[in-house]
C-alpha cells in the first residue's frame, strides 16, 4: 500500500485529500501510478491530463514521472505552489 495525498485545487476537483491504494506492480513509478489514477474515470483523467500542470512529491521530496515508488511511500499531488 502507498498513501496518496492531494492538495489545493487538485484536492477540491477530486473530492479527495488522502487515500491508501495498493501498488499494482513491484516496479511502480510515479508515472505508472498516474496512469492508474487516470483510469478511474473522467474527473481523474481530466485532473491528470498530460497538458495539466501539477507537481508530485514522493516522501515529501519533489519527484518526477520516473521516480520509483514502493510500499509505504507517501506520494503527494498538487498544483504549482503559490506561497510567499
Amino acid at each position: 500500500m502507498v498513501t496518496l495525498l492531494y492538495f489545493a485545487s487538485l484536492r477540491e476537483s477530486l473530492s479527495c485529500s488522502r487515500e491508501q491504494v495498493p501498488l499494482a506492480a513491484p516496479t511502480a513509478t510515479v508515472e505508472s501510478l498516474i496512469d492508474h489514477l487516470r483510469s478511474r474515470g473522467e474527473r481523474w483523467a481530466e485532473a491528470f491530463a498530460p497538458g495539466r500542470s501539477f507537481r508530485v512529491a514522493v516522501n515529501q521530496q519533489m519527484a518526477d514521472a520516473a521516480t520509483p515508488v514502493k510500499p509505504g511511500d507517501e506520494i503527494a499531488f498538487f498544483p504549482p505552489v503559490t506561497g510567499g
Partner: protein, 151 residues
C-alpha cells in the same frame, strides 16, 4: 541551523529578527523581507485569503532552501516564518531574515530564499474575490526569478 516556522498566528517582526542578532557581536548585516496580503490581484479585489500547505514537507522544503542559501553565501543565521489559514489584506504572510558579516551576502541570501520559497515550498493561496473564490495560479515570473540563481 535555520529557524523555520509555519503557523496560523501573526508574528512580531522586530522580536523575531532580534532572535537572529541577540547576544552576537559578529553580525554586521541583517536583511529581511516581509510579504503582505494585497487587496487586489490580477485586477480583482481580494477581500480574504486562505493559505493551505503540506504539513511536514513545507518545513522540510523551507529548511532545505535555507541550507542551500547557507551553502551559497557566507551567512550566519537564517529565519523563515510563514503563516497559513485565513488572512486578510494588510496581514503579514511571510518573514525571511538573514544575518551575515557584510550586507551583500545577507541581501543575496534573503532574495534567494524568497525566490525559492515562491517556487518550491508547498503553499497554495485561495483568494476570496469579487468574482468568488479562486485558487491563485503560479506566475511564470516566479520561475524566472528562481531560475536566475541556477548555474
Amino acid at each position: 541551523m535555520p529557524i523555520v516556522r509555519v503557523q496560523e498566528a501573526d508574528f512580531d517582526v522586530g522580536r523575531e529578527l532580534e532572535v537572529l542578532t541577540g547576544g552576537r557581536t559578529d553580525v554586521g548585516a541583517l536583511a529581511s523581507f516581509v510579504g503582505l496580503v494585497r487587496s487586489a490581484n490580477d485586477g480583482r479585489g481580494v477581500s480574504a485569503m486562505t493559505l493551505e500547505h503540506y504539513p511536514g514537507m513545507t518545513e522540510r522544503a523551507l529548511d532545505d532552501i535555507c541550507r542551500e542559501a547557507a551553502s551559497r553565501w557566507d551567512i550566519l543565521e537564517s529565519l523563515v516564518i510563514h503563516r497559513v489559514g485565513s488572512l486578510e489584506p494588510g496581514d503579514r504572510i511571510v518573514l525571511v531574515g538573514v544575518t551575515s558579516a557584510h550586507r551583500g551576502e545577507a541581501f543575496a541570501a534573503c532574495e534567494f530564499i524568497m525566490d525559492y520559497l515562491k517556487t518550491r515550498a508547498p503553499f497554495w493561496k485561495k483568494e476570496a474575490t469579487s468574482e468568488g473564490e479562486k485558487w491563485v495560479e503560479a506566475r511564470a515570473s516566479d520561475d524566472v526569478a528562481a531560475n536566475r540563481w541556477k548555474g
